[in-house]
Each structure stands twice: as structure tokens, then as C-alpha cells.
């Protein structure tokens, strides 16, 4: 099976993270050559801004994936959170954001409750949540786009810090750091991984399934809500259409970042690299003047390739390859009969 190296390397997923980081560097290099203006302050800032939204959403989604579930409602949550923020924010955006995140926490609890109590696949529960949230998004605004005059709040969130960062992107990095600590240093984190790998065994060994599910779904919905709230403040507008492609991109980024759909595998660092790989890809294509349809097509191809490689057939082939190699090792090591 998977070789167990010393503690640190195993936690970091070993060489696979290095491979991914290397891939990111390669992509950056390729686009720099193809497009002369690629690496400059503004563009890196633009990349970080993409990370602020996509990264936060992907982080939440990937946690549910690590626990062996999937939260399809993250995209709709982004839209609804934006609407709640601007509708209730009024003069103080912070109040609006708190309300939005609070709503996210509630929805996360509902997702977790229905999934674990009724033992229904979260894929299905979150389809229902997603549809309800979509309708809710239209209803909150009365079918209208909601906007605010408070440009200054958005400027505060987006003003460049140290040239390439902004308050929003730094918040996203902070979220990643927090989740990293959760996964690495707390029992909750270990339970989440256990819930995803072999659920019955984990339960027998004492992992707390219900709490794990609650944690991941609350974090997923909460982070999506936070991201949606912040982007609405930044754009001074919230609409039901926002975040339409987010779920697709978040799923791609998570899988590219090493999180398996089957659960139990992956971590925040890999996810961060995965998000940057996807964001750089889209940024680069856009810098080359690509059509929106071409980008959609490319994203679809990437996701398809990634999901096939993550599927049963690919794993079975890999198993057989490993067994074959293991047998060769044994044959070489054992004394000849």
C-alpha cells in the first residue's frame, strides 16, 4: 500500500506536493514566454484577487471531499451571501458579512444534519440545497440586482497591500492557515480524514462521524458565504448569477490539488497549489485573448481528465502496477529456491 515515510513527509503528501508546485512553476513559465506582460505587479495582483474568491470556496469544498462527501451548493451560497450582505449591510458592511456567514453556518448544519441523520448521500442533499438557494437568491433581491453606494468598503478590501496582496486575499491565506492547523494539530482534523477514508472502521475506532460532518459542512458553507459576502462588497453589487462557474472550478482545483473524490486524501497546501494552477491557467488564457467559450471548454477538458484519472479504472490499473512491482521486489529479495 502507500509507503509510510517519516511523519512530516507523510503529512505533506511527500513528493506529490513538490510535483504540483513544479507544475505551477512550469505553467507560469510557459505563459510568461507566450505573453510578454504576464509577470508584472498588476497581473500577480489580479491572480491573488482570483485566489481570494476561488481559494476560499475551494478550501471549504475540499474539506467536504476529504471527509468523503461533496458540497454542491457552494456556488449558490456565494450568490446568496452577497445578496444578504448588501441587503442587510446598510451602513455597516461588517453587520452584513456577519449575517451572511451566520446564514452559511445554518445552511451547513442543515446539510450535515440531513446527510448524517437520514444517511442520504450529500451529493443529493446539496443538490436540493443548491436549488433552494438559487431560488432564494432571486427572491431576496426581489428578482433584482442589489447594489450599494458604499464604494469605500470595497476599496478597503481591494487596495493593494505590498503591491500584490489585498485584504481579501490575505483573509483567504489566513483561512488556509487556520484549516491547516485544524487538520494537523486537532483531533477534529484527524477525525475528518478518518471519516473520509474508511468510515465504518473509523467509527469503530472512535472517530466522531456526526461532528466531523458538521464541521466540514459548516466550514464549507461558511467560507463560501464569507467569500460571497466579500466579493459583493468589492463589486458593490450582488446578483443571483454570481458564482455560476465557481463550483466547477472549485472541484477542478481541489482534484488537481490532490484531493480525491473518494475521500480521506489531500490537505490545504495541495489545495492552495491546485487553486493557483487553475487560476494561472485561466489568467494566462485570458491574457492571450482567449474566448470565454474556449476557457470553458478548457476547464471542462481539465476536469474530465482529472476525474477519469481519479476514477475506478485508473486506480485499479495503478494497484495492479504496484502489485506487479512489489512481486518483483520480493522475487529479487528472496533467496532462490
Amino acid at each position: 500500500m502507500t509507503s509510510r515515510k517519516n511523519g512530516l513527509m507523510r503529512r505533506l503528501g511527500g513528493a506529490s506536493l513538490l510535483v504540483r508546485a513544479g507544475l505551477l512553476v512550469v505553467i507560469l513559465g510557459v505563459f510568461s514566454v507566450l505573453s510578454p506582460n504576464f509577470i508584472n505587479g498588476y497581473n500577480v495582483y489580479a491572480l491573488m484577487q482570483t485566489f481570494a474568491l476561488l481559494g476560499m470556496v475551494t478550501l471549504g469544498l475540499s474539506l467536504t471531499m476529504i471527509a468523503g462527501e461533496f458540497d454542491l451548493s457552494v456556488g449558490s451560497m456565494v450568490a446568496v451571501a452577497g445578496l444578504i450582505t448588501l441587503k442587510l449591510g446598510g451602513s455597516s458592511m461588517i453587520v452584513g458579512t456577519l449575517c451572511a456567514v451566520g446564514f452559511g453556518v445554518i445552511v451547513g448544519l442543515v446539510n450535515a444534519a440531513i446527510s448524517s441523520w437520514l444517511r442520504v448521500s450529500s451529493l443529493v442533499v446539496t443538490v436540493g440545497t443548491m436549488m433552494t438557494l438559487s431560488g432564494l437568491a432571486y427572491w431576496i433581491g426581489g428578482g433584482q440586482v442589489v447594489s450599494t453606494d458604499n464604494i469605500d468598503a470595497g476599496m478597503f478590501l481591494d487596495d493593494p497591500i505590498l503591491g500584490i496582496f489585498s485584504a481579501r486575499s490575505l483573509l483567504a491565506f489566513a483561512a488556509f492557515a487556520a484549516v491547516f492547523c485544524l487538520m494537523r494539530f486537532t483531533r477534529g482534523g484527524r477525525d475528518i480524514v478518518a471519516t473520509g477514508s474508511r468510515r465504518q472502521v473509523a467509527a469503530a475506532a472512535g472517530a466522531r462521524l456526526g461532528i466531523s460532518l458538521a464541521i466540514v459542512f459548516v466550514i464549507s458553507a461558511g467560507l463560501s458565504a464569507l467569500a460571497g459576502s466579500l466579493i459583493a462588497i468589492s463589486l458593490t453589487t450582488a446578483s443571483p448569477e454570481l458564482g455560476a462557474n465557481l463550483m466547477l472550478q472549485a472541484a477542478s482545483a481541489a482534484i488537481i490539488g490532490g484531493v480525491a473524490l473518494s475521500g480521506g486524501v489531500g490537505g490545504p497546501i495541495g489545495v492552495m497549489i491546485g487553486v493557483f494552477i487553475l487560476a494561472t491557467l485561466n489568467n494566462g488564457l485570458s491574457a492571450m485573448g482567449a474566448n470565454a467559450s474556449a476557457v470553458l471548454f478548457a476547464n471542462g477538458l481539465v476536469l474530465l481528465a482529472v476525474v477519469i484519472l481519479d476514477g475506478r479504472l485508473a486506480r485499479a490499473l495503478l494497484e495492479r502496477l504496484r502489485e506487479h512491482r512489489a512481486r518483483q521486489h520480493l522475487a529479487a529479495a528472496a533467496p532462490a529456491h
Binding site: 511527500g14 498588476y42 428578482g143 466579493i231 448569477e241 488537481i256 481528465a305 484519472l309
Partner: protein
């Protein structure tokens, strides 16, 4: 997952992505001159595609070098593209806002960076007019007003100076929806107070939704209406279908739309639609290109320039041919 599977996965992901690279198209004229970046919405809608084409042709005539960035009506992505564009230090920017409200912070950024700016098609709230140098695009209040005049003429031709209609509007709360309805109702009240609007439903610029919305309105008001106004011809196409299915002959109603898009042209030519108002994407693109060229030449440019909005009935339908690519 094991290392090898990871590596395989990552490499495949990049290979697939690299393959998609050749699908990217750059749009830039070879002529020397100023560098202009056009930030526009998807060309997955005929109007948008024609707008871009007309813009590029006119810009080429002025010797401008144009780079195009496209987003799918996604304001977050467009904000990102503004950041990217500013990084390329262009001589001017032309922006078609994905959302006229959401674009305002970006407009402020562009102004602060000191780059000449033309906004095209979607007019942001005019209290922010100091953030752009020129706006060119449709006058939606005028558009609605002309539609109302067409409707009144249609009623007169049938000897009616009063009656009932219902209205199909675009997505609620968006500027075109609000303004076209405003222009329409104001003109209707002034010039034909006997014509009443019995009901309004959103068709959301979507033909299928419009069919459903119109079907419900026909159910409610059926034989009481003599006409329908839809804020877009493709929505009116849905109204026509709903009428046919309800057993009402569309030619017996005064149907007025807007745009003179291909749906409108088809319906006008076979007589099911009475009139529409031409909003030419060609003019829209040309005006924007002319505005940015004038700006770069140092000429005086109006803060707001509106497109013409002629009324089109069956006799004038050929005027719409260039706008639909015929």
C-alpha cells in the same frame, strides 16, 4: 493518492490545458498606432458578437491596435480583467460593463490610473459620470418611448384609440429593463391614455421563459388584450408561440418588440410582429471605436452619446439586415 498517480494527474491536467491553448484567439490589428484594450462581454450572444466585429473594423480604420478580453457576463472576472489590463499599460480602455453597477469600482481604479476610458452599451448610474471620459450606447428611455409610439400607431391602424395590453420585461432591476419600461409607460400615458397595461411579467431575455410567462398572461387576460409589448424581440418570439398555443392568431394582436434582432426580422417579414425598434450593434461598436479614436486624437468628446433608435415596421425591415449579419 500515491506519488505516481499524482504526478500523472498533474501532468495530464497541464497537457490537456496546453492543448486548449491553440483555441485561444488574439484579436489585434497589425496597424501601428495606439494600443487599446477592449474589455467586452461574451460573444455568445449575437448582438455582442456583432458589436465586437464592428468595433474592430472601425478601430482598424483609425489605425488602432486592439487587444480583446472577454468575460461571460461575470462582473468578478471583469474586475480581474481590469486589473490585468491596467498592468499592460494601454493607451486607452474601452469597457462594456458586465454589470453596470458592479463596474463602478473598476471605473474608479481606471480613472485613478489616468487611462482614457470609453464605456460602451451599458450606462452606469450617471452620478458616476466623472469616472469615464465618454459613454456611447443605446438610450433605453428613448427606445421604450419609440416602442410606445409604434404600439399607438398599430392601434390607430385598427381604429382603436383605447384598449388593453400586457408587457414582458427583462430581468427586474437591471437598467435596460427599468429604462425601457419607463420610456414606454411615459409616452403611453402622454399620447394614448386610453391604452391600459393589464399585467407585467419578466421574460428575462429568454425565449422559453417568455413563452411560459406569456402563456400565464394569456390565461389571465386572453380575450381582453389587443396588443403586447416585449422589451426584446426574442422575448416577443416567445409571446408569439404562447399565443399560437392558446389558439390566438398573433396577427390579430399589435405586437411590438425591441432590437430588430433576427427573431424580430423573421417575425416582421411573415407579418406576425407589427413593429420593433432598431438598436444596431453595428452602430454601438462603431460609435465606441470612434469615441476612443477621438479621445486619443485629443478631440473634444461628449460625456454621453446615444445611438439612434428608429422605428421599424415590415416596410423598413431591410434596414435591419446589416445589424443581423445578412
Amino acid at each position: 493518492m500515491s506519488k505516481s498517480l499524482n504526478a500523472l494527474l498533474a501532468t495530464a491536467a497541464f497537457a490537456v490545458a496546453a492543448m486548449a491553448g491553440p483555441l485561444a484567439t488574439t484579436a489585434s490589428a497589425a496597424a501601428e498606432g495606439s494600443k487599446v484594450i477592449l474589455l467586452t462581454v461574451t460573444d455568445e450572444c449575437s448582438y455582442c458578437a456583432l458589436h465586437k466585429k464592428a468595433f474592430l473594423e472601425e478601430a482598424a480604420k483609425h489605425g488602432l491596435e486592439v487587444e480583446v478580453k472577454i468575460n461571460n457576463f461575470d462582473p468578478a472576472e471583469q474586475a480581474n480583467q481590469v486589473d490585468q489590463a491596467l498592468g499592460e499599460r494601454p493607451d486607452a480602455l474601452v469597457v462594456w460593463p458586465a454589470d453596470a453597477n458592479a463596474i463602478v469600482p473598476s471605473l474608479r481604479k481606471i480613472k485613478t490610473a489616468g487611462v482614457p476610458l470609453v464605456v460602451t452599451n451599458s450606462l452606469p448610474d450617471q452620478k458616476y459620470s466623472k469616472f469615464w471620459d465618454a459613454f456611447t450606447g443605446p438610450d433605453d428611455i428613448g427606445n421604450g418611448s419609440t416602442s410606445a409610439e409604434a404600439l399607438i400607431e398599430g392601434f390607430k391602424e385598427r381604429g382603436l384609440d383605447e384598449g388593453n395590453i400586457f408587457v414582458l420585461v427583462g430581468p427586474l432591476g437591471t437598467p435596460p429593463q427599468i429604462q425601457r419600461l419607463e420610456g414606454f409607460t411615459k409616452t403611453l400615458e402622454e399620447k394614448a391614455p386610453g391604452i391600459k397595461i393589464l399585467g407585467t411579467q419578466p421574460g428575462n431575455w429568454d425565449q422559453t421563459q417568455s413563452t411560459d410567462a406569456a402563456a400565464s398572461l394569456f390565461t389571465q387576460f386572453g380575450d381582453k388584450v389587443q396588443g403586447v409589448y416585449a422589451e426584446a424581440d426574442n422575448m416577443l418570439a416567445g409571446v408569439i408561440v404562447a399565443a399560437q398555443r392558446a389558439g390566438i392568431d398573433p396577427k390579430s394582436l399589435v405586437l411590438v418588440g425591441h432590437n430588430c434582432s433576427i427573431e424580430g426580422v423573421t417575425a416582421l417579414e411573415n407579418g406576425t410582429q407589427y413593429a420593433t425598434v432598431l438598436q444596431s450593434p453595428i452602430d454601438d461598436g462603431i460609435y465606441a471605436a470612434q469615441a476612443v479614436a477621438n479621445l486619443l486624437d485629443g478631440k473634444e468628446v461628449e460625456n454621453i452619446t446615444y445611438l439612434p433608435h428608429p422605428m421599424i415596421k415590415q416596410a423598413q425591415v431591410k434596414d435591419c439586415y446589416p445589424a443581423v449579419g445578412k
